[in-house]
Symmetry: C2
Subunit: 219 residues, 2 copies
Amino acid sequence: MVRPVDSKTEEQILQAAYTVMLRHGKAGARMQEIADEAGVNKALLHYYFRTKDKIYTAILGKVIREVLGTLLRKIDFEAPIEEFVRGFVAGHIEAIRHNQRIFQFFLAEIWLNREEVVPAFREVLSDGRGNLLELFSARINRAVREKEIRPIDPRHLLINVISLDVFYFLGTPIFSAVMEMTDQQVNAMSAERADQVADFIWESIRYRDVKTGRKGDEQ
Amino acid sequence: MVRPVDSKTEEQILQAAYTVMLRHGKAGARMQEIADEAGVNKALLHYYFRTKDKIYTAILGKVIREVLGTLLRKIDFEAPIEEFVRGFVAGHIEAIRHNQRIFQFFLAEIWLNREEVVPAFREVLSDGRGNLLELFSARINRAVREKEIRPIDPRHLLINVISLDVFYFLGTPIFSAVMEMTDQQVNAMSAERADQVADFIWESIRYRDVKTGRKGDEQ
DNA sequence: GTATAGATTAACCAAGTGGTTAAATATGGA
DNA sequence: TCCATATTTAACCACTTGGTTAATCTATAC
């Protein structure tokens, strides 16, 4: 065998492609820029991956795994319901704050390259661990049965939670423009997000005895 | 003067550019495709607008006005608070459902062309009608004072509401993949969205007398 | 050492890209 | 009618694009 074990080149190229495509999107990314970013000759991109599309497909898998990883992060489905909800939100928001670009890229690409993104997403989903929706639904339905939270459709609840977690970080520049905030204020607001969102959700779903009218503390 | 009044050509080009750029994004849009879509010679694009960037800028204004128009749509700030909130949500979601592509495009472009999008957004905002945030905050704060809803930061509330309104329609293909839904089910879910979201928000914010424990009806 | 395989490069290419131009065609006022 | 101007077109251009190629380098197994 004459195979030098190094071949970190391929990894360098992937990393560079990842950086550049997250910067400009698929259509806007240039093979030359990727090569420069990786510090290799452009021909090497075609040597390791035949075409730009192949490179895109490769990093798409990586992006999707990171997006899903972020959303599935360390969720403790066995925790008490309020803790579960707050942990869910806090985990998401922290991870999203540190991966804003990935989410932005992903959302953009969904619509620019739907035919490629959706199947790739499905594939990554299928060989991932158990179905998020099912686990989530089971936990929520249990809490409903035990009268810890009010009756609610788990599908809509899951979408609501993810919406509240993610959207702010997609629209940050716009929100800050609308609200005429300084960078400092934006940072402050981002830091508050986790608690604000968790409170908002918990206030909406927690069970309240109609007759005695309280459970947990008012904010 | 020798100016033929017609010049619908310019409008045709803009409309075509709008269509094509919403389809492929700025980087992916081709001048030739725009020309074909408009049914005119490619040189005409440069005759009316000098460059691709100029075309982009032109349609960007249109897109932003439509996005803002959608979000500012027929809001009755004088309505009773619950009606106000539900109307706010219902108005948004209906408009967004009919303008999904615009929102998708807009969100994508925010990050791919931030330097251009954000200033354009600011500009359109400035010569629009009164500040949405201020009107919204005033309405919310009044409701808080009158003990119709619980105390809450209007900025976060506004973001929460917009998140819940918009995000689902940005991620539809992904949500449906995660939840393994048929097109029928997706449509059904989209139709339910407005009520689900309005309920979710209202349950979270409506005032509850801690002692007697109720106000309004339970769902 | 040297044969052999993979890894890397500079130079190249055809097909597109946004953009230009000069000539042709309308259009309307005199 | 004829002219001046606005509009439209086909042909063109310089440059960039993704992708290829043939030659060179590098490392190992023998």
